[in-house]
């Protein structure tokens, strides 16, 4: 169980860094493997102190992009900057303020958990005092207390994921990059990771989180970038998702005691274009993409109906994601 109260306020941010507007900025970032273009002229911009979701189907180029940011892959073309400083595989010093956890991270099996953090901490240049203070807190934070002196070879996948999160936060980074952090965790662990990400963001860290779990991104991210086939399809605040979706928004509501008065009351609402009934389900076509579920449920209840289930389609990340990916695959975008 993660101990969410233990995260320490970051002291890594310096005035110079705050003066730089973007945490991550890529310009025409491209990665080619022979004839295959994994990342295609990507212009990714991540603002400071945001939780930025990085979405895309399998093979979209998310991990390849991240690997170019953290020094594992060399870009074929283009540049990448983190807090204004160019990053590539030869710029080790640029990684001092970055915490990174890969998808299903693996660590040397011969090291003990606390030993791993100690060695990595020294690679970040942390002092003995800093390590002495930080390591027990992180061990406690990720729920590995009592197992920190076990060899990592004896850790389960979930425990390796937890030590992976601990090492990503070790240096109080200004930027945390998490590649599919929920993979390998049980449902409780997934919720804890989401809560942890929210907290570290409040403490001043910028978080780039790659995920294929749309609801995860929707729950915690303030900004989102969607890529497919190496190209950026959308990059904006999450709240602006609905503005780019074409076609009508709609709601499907399962209601008991449907009557004519109820349908007429719904049709009188200014943002309702049409209402059709199929058995106990009302299909409501809307003229807005704002969240109007509260007003509609109030109207139904006041007209004597009882709502069993309600689903608004057309303004959610999932809808946009499917639409954007489908459009691109159909050559419409």
């Amino acid at each position: 169980m993660f101990k969410l109260s233990k995260i320490k306020k970051t002291n890594g941010l310096k005035e110079e860094r705050l003066a730089v507007e973007l945490a991550i900025e890529t310009n025409g970032l491209t990665k080619k493997y022979g004839s295959l273009t994994a990342v295609d002229k990507l212009n990714l911009k991540v603002e400071q102190n945001t939780i930025h979701g990085f979405l895309g189907p399998n093979g979209a180029g998310k991990s390849t992009t991240i690997k170019m940011l953290v020094g594992l892959l060399k870009a074929s073309e283009g540049t990448a900057k983190i807090f204004g400083q160019e990053v590539n595989i030869d710029q080790a010093d640029a990684r001092v303020g970055i915490g990174y956890m890969s998808e299903l991270p693996r660590f040397p099996e011969y090291l003990k958990g606390a030993e791993l953090l100690d060695i990595y901490g020294r690679m970040y240049g942390m002092s003995q005092e800093e390590l002495k203070e930080q390591i027990p807190q992180l061990i406690d934070l990720v729920g590995l207390k009592g197992r920190e002196n076990d060899r990592i070879g004896k850790y389960s996948k979930g425990m390796q994921q937890r030590i992976g999160i601990a090492q990503a936060l070790l240096n109080n980074p200004d930027l945390v990059i998490l590649d599919e952090p929920s993979v390998g965790l049980d449902p409780v662990g997934m919720v804890e990771v989401r809560e942890l990400v929210k907290i570290i963001s409040k403490e001043g860290m910028t978080v780039l989180i790659s995920s294929h779990l749309l609801f995860e991104v929707e729950q915690i991210c303030s900004h989102v970038t969607i890529i497919n086939k190496g190209k950026s399809l959308f990059s904006d605040k999450l709240e602006n998702v609905s503005k780019v979706i074409s076609g009508p928004a709609s709601m499907q509501i399962e209601v008991l005691n449907i009557n004519d008065d109820l349908i007429r009351a719904l049709k009188r609402l200014t943002y309702v274009e049409d209402v059709t009934q199929a058995d106990n389900t009302l299909n409501i076509t809307l003229t807005t993409r704002d969240d109007v579920s509260a007003q509609i449920s109030k109207t139904i209840t006041m007209s004597g109906g009882t709502i069993v289930r309600m689903n608004q389609k057309g303004n959610r990340l999932e809808d946009m994601f499917i639409q954007l990916v489908n459009n691109l695959q159909g050559g419409k975008n």
Binding site: G71, R95, V96, S102, Y110, I119, Y120, M123, Y124
Partner: protein, 318 residues
């Protein structure tokens, strides 16, 4: 730029510790070390190892020579690069603020320290053990020369293994390639020495080199098939013998080494009981020693450069 640049030394030492822990906790390394101790212990029971009380040969002759070099090189180096790639641990390591050159140098330093420490413990054991079994010995101050020479001889194989690992990113392939090369050089060198008149060529390959005989009488004479051989006067020219040759040079600085073509094929003749020997050339022991050090240095630098260059270019896709 934004954060303070961490101390290079602190980061480098972290890499050294990371790699040293890998080595000393490896079961294979512990197995080879225990085997070397067992081999050394068995050698105490063989009286042939002590020839004269004034030479420290007994302290270093326990080793299985080149076989020990490659075994220690394999167990310390086979996973250093390829293992990081195969197990996926390179991802976490190379995203830390440590450059690939720093990682390379840190790993090399750790491997060298582990080999030096292992040999030092072994030589201390054999020196003390030898004295307990055979009585007091002199010239023991020369034992460290053998230690240094054997570390250099082992580092050739370390550099070959690191280069193979960094290029192939496959530990099993690395070991097979290295052992294959080891066997080829061992057999090839022996065959050239036995059947070719151009025996000097093997002096420029890593391994055993060729063999000659010092022109001064030292050690113990033994007779094999009616031929009297002075055992300690035998000198091997290869990189495996740097340590021993340094000791011999300090003890006999004026010595020259004679090299013969031995016609083993003539032994098949019915009326011949011993092979015919023909003197090919003679060289000072100093030249032989310096040349083997130079050859070792060139191979070590060349293979380490290849390993470093390949590692620098690694793209971590998996």
């Amino acid at each position: 730029m934004q954060r303070e640049k961490p101390s290079w030394t602190r980061r480098f030492l972290a890499v050294v510790r990371y790699e040293m822990l890998r080595n000393i906790r490896k079961k294979m390394f512990i197995g080879v070390l225990l085997s070397a101790f067992a081999f050394a212990t068995i050698n105490f029971a063989l009286p042939s190892i002590v020839e004269t009380a004034e030479n420290p040969y007994f302290a270093v002759s326990f080793s299985a020579g080149s076989l020990m070099f490659i075994l220690f090189a394999v167990v310390t180096s086979m996973h250093s690069f390829s293992g990081e790639y195969e197990k996926g641990t390179a991802v976490s390591l190379l995203t830390k603020p440590v450059s690939r050159t720093m990682v390379f140098l840190g790993k090399l330093t750790a491997i060298s320290i582990v080999i030096l420490a292992a040999y030092a413990v072994l030589y201390t054991y054999t020196t003390i053990g030898g004295m307990l079994v055979y009585g007091p010995q002199t010239n023991l101050h020369l034992v460290p020369l053998a230690l240094i020479g054997d570390v250099v001889g082992t580092l050739i194989w370390v550099s070959i293994i690191l280069a193979a690992g960094a290029i192939s990113k496959n530990s099993m392939l690395t070991v097979m390639m290295s052992f294959g090369l080891f066997v080829a050089l061992s057999l090839g060198g022996g065959l050239v020495a036995a059947f070719s008149e151009d025996i000097a060529a093997v002096n420029y390959l890593p391994g055993g080199g060729t063999s000659g005989t010092m022109d001064i009488a030292v050690g113990q004479n033994i007779t094999i098939q009616n031929v009297t051989v002075n055992t300690y006067s035998s000198v091997a020219t290869g990189t495996n013998s740097i340590g021993m040759n340094m000791i011999k040079y300090v003890m006999y600085p004026e010595a020259h080494v004679n090299f013969y073509h031995i016609d083993y094929l003539s032994m098949t003749s019915l009326n011949m009981t011993t092979p015919e020997r023909e003197l090919l050339y003679s060289e000072p022991l100093l030249l032989i020693t310096l040349r083997s050090v130079g050859v070792a240095f060139v191979y070590i630098v060349a293979f380490l450069f290849v390993a470093w260059y390949a590692f620098k270019r690694w793209q971590i896709t998996g």
